[in-house]
Symmetry: C2
Subunit: 467 residues, 2 copies
């Protein structure tokens, strides 16, 4: 009974298409796009995909043996779904192994801390680093600090991440993670431990990538859980002299070959023009990579499959790209842009799903300002699926964020990320955090978006000049 409404609708559509009556092309588009919503909501294919990925592969850190398994899983899964074309493109990715990480306050009160290494961090010496900590409210405060107060110490950046539907709190605090080790090293610190960039209060630390700078010492970098950051603050109320021991054994191990895995629904009349919907296949290693970004993999794959199965193919090619090594620096996204430089002018529009599985509530674009109202008109039926028309501020998602520089229009299908940073980059990124209904709503939105874009007769270029 599940497909009852679709079952009623489809013969009608097909009979229309084969010509009993001749509906206008735009009516057909609208009818087919409407049908995609119900088909997505009636299907559990997306949940099956993310369950399969998280159960049969699980954590898949770029360049690890599990990453290779994920690539094999993706090829097989995409092939089994009957896409017109499935292929992969090699990407050289850095290899980093987490090793062990532990930390304890040793004075004034001995307490173990729950920490994790930041991705890319170097190790401590085997005996660890034991030093006093120096606390800062933010990366900005560290930048302003007197080096005399920092040298020889372990920097503690203690910035809370604000909870918000859009996830905008992450942008405010994540600098401490990505650039903290650089600024701390510049002032002579021995190591850095940050309050996790997360909105939860679970005793789990949030990993995530960090950077070093040429010519500066590479110091170990870790995150502690929010309750542990509170604990350190409670000790700081009692004494300015807090001594911490930090031991970590991560290892940077050169590079390996991973792959962007790609599936296509071949366009019927403009096969060389591309509508790209993407997600990233790699994940951090502590959860099973369900919301980051198993959900995205499921969303764009299931959306592509719905289009593959339409009675008539859309004009443009719909390309589903499962990117390699997003977590460690958008490596797959950059490699794609480079490998496909010659056809970027044929990319009609691109969007990546990489913000969990919360419902999509808005669609933003980055297109010619003049065409935005028409594009909003074209995608109006997405509103019945809860997706309001947004503005022209989209960046498209991490792995497609470099495409607008080459003139490629992008869209951001905004998800409710209220609890995303509760789980992000922790052991808690597991399948149970995905609501199957919200996932299906996402799939409906991506399917409608991709189909309408593949059929669209609007000219989305040139992009507005950068402010």
């Amino acid at each position: 009974m599940k497909n009852y409404r679709t079952a009623l609708l489809l013969p009608l559509l097909i009979s229309s298409l084969i010509g009993c009556q001749s509906p206008s092309p735009s009516n057909t588009n609208q009818l087919l796009a409407e049908s995609l919503q119900q088909k997505a909501l009636d299907s559990d294919l997306g949940f099956q995909i993310v369950e399969s990925l998280t159960v049969e592969v699980g954590p898949r850190l770029a360049g690890s043996p599990k990453d290779a398994m994920a690539v094999a899983w993706a090829e097989k899964k995409l092939q089994s779904l009957g896409f017109d074309r499935v292929y992969k493109e090699a990407v050289e990715v850095p290899v980093w192994e987490r090793g062990e990480a532990s930390a304890s306050i040793v004075a004034p009160f001995q307490q173990p801390l729950v920490i994790t290494a930041l991705g890319g961090s170097v190790a401590t010496p085997a005996e660890g680093i034991t030093a006093k900590i120096v606390r800062f409210d933010s990366l900005a405060a560290l930048k302003e600090a007197n080096p005399d107060d920092v040298a020889g110490k372990i920097v503690f950046i203690d910035q809370k991440t604000e909870r918000h539907k859009t996830g905008k709190g992450y942008g405010k605090s994540v600098g401490g993670r990505s650039r903290g080790a650089i600024e701390a090293a510049r002032k002579g610190a021995l190591a850095i431990v940050i309050r996790s960039i997360g909105t939860d209060h679970d005793r789990m630390a949030h990993t995530g990538t960090m950077r070093y700078e040429e010519g500066l010492k590479r110091i170990p970098a870790a995150a502690m859980s929010a309750p542990d950051a509170d604990l350190v603050n409670a000790m700081l109320k009692r004494s300015a002299d807090i001594t911490l021991t930090l031991k970590m054994s991560p290892e940077n191990k050169g590079s390996a070959i991973s792959y962007n895995v790609i599936a296509e629904v071949t366009g019927s009349s403009k096969p060389d023009e591309i509508v790209l919907i993407g997600a990233h296949l790699d994940s951090w290693d502590e959860g099973t990579g369900a919301i980051d970004d198993g959900a995205g993999v499921a969303i764009v794959t299931a959306a592509g499959k719905l289009i593959q199965d339409l009675p008539v193919k859309p004009a443009r090619t719909v390309r589903v790209v499962l990117y390699a090594a997003e977590e460690i620096g958008l490596v797959g996204g950059k490699a794609y842009a480079k490998a496909h430089a010659a056809e970027l002018d044929k990319h009609y529009i691109a969007a990546e799903s990489d913000f969990g599985a919360g419902p999509i509530y808005r669609i933003d674009f980055q297109v010619n300002d003049q065409v935005l109202p028409k594009l909003q008109q074209l995608t109006q039926l997405m509103q019945r699926n809860g997706v309001a028309a947004g503005d022209n501020s989209a960046y498209g998602g991490p792995d497609v964020s470099m495409l607008p520089a080459s003139g490629v229009p992008v869209a951001s299908l905004r998800q409710d990320g209220t609890d995303y940073f509760d789980y992000h980059h922790t052991p808690n990124d597991t399948l149970d955090k995905i609501d199957p209904k919200a996932l299906a709503q996402n799939i409906a939105a991506y399917a409608q978006f991709a189909y309408l874009m593949a059929q669209s007769e609007l000219e989305l270029r040139p992009l507005p000049a950068k402010q």
Copy 2:
């Protein structure tokens, strides 16, 4: 301004008590008991106590160096609060060290699991135990199993713990933890790994004590997190043959001396009669022992302090008992009952706070059936603090649960434990899980209860015959 209302009330009370006018004793009791509520709600002493314990001591597994620190902390804290008497009583406690614990599914899909050893478990061999798992819905299902299906395997008991305000789900599922290793060993299993006895969906495992039986092999016992139990189930949907490797290095290390730490407000006219309010000082080792049972320590200590500071002492002695080694088998409670056997007939009533820091919504008793209505009448003013009159079904709390067998009446001040088993026995048992307002409400309830009981002229004995 915080104590404004109390400040107005107390001179009035004191002047009444010194005889300008002679209020009836029961009116005075009621007025003083009323004042205790406001004093408790105006004070942050309770939160300060649990903050101090969790920050300055932290985890305090019975018999560990931290347990000794906790005893020293408790003596000093109780002395600093000016109780009439502070002392400790030696208790011999078993010593168990957690060591390391890890587990992975090795086939059909390699995945690491988040596990923890159950308290008291023996270790695996250093190379671990690798075997197929056999799953049961419950301890009862394991008991009914054919030994041929269990021998040589790792038992997996997969019972979910139902969320409930009263915590009653715990009672239904905890048998798998406490007796699972016995039943599994009886049928020839090599080890047991249970779904954590918890109501959360965090990727943390819940520890807790387990038992062995004389004459049966002692097999290693662990718990896995709920997401990991889901993962194993998802694999079981794909294959009946799931192979798990389990490595654990806990160690039973004989016994040590710990202490029940006791403070008293000496009764003014019946000093040899005791109203006992207790909590346990020890905790598991993975969190900081905030809700289990730092909260209880704070509640009964702050309640006792409020009574200590009354302008006139109550008739009976109020005894605050911070029990040793509750987690590993109610060791302190049993030792107390033994050491105080001769004065148990002088224990008017006893209650323990050991269910977190949620608001108290009801008070139950275990007293002479005939006197229950009068007791409910006497404690009626607790209703203004949100504490409804309950029934005669109390067991009093773990460390006082053995007292009714000696004729001692008990009370259960029922807390809202809806989220208690989200955090219980995990690294997530940290200070941030305590709501200071709810904690103060608990303190008000315990202070009122202890004061009214210390003044009561009701005869609570004999207890009803056991059904």
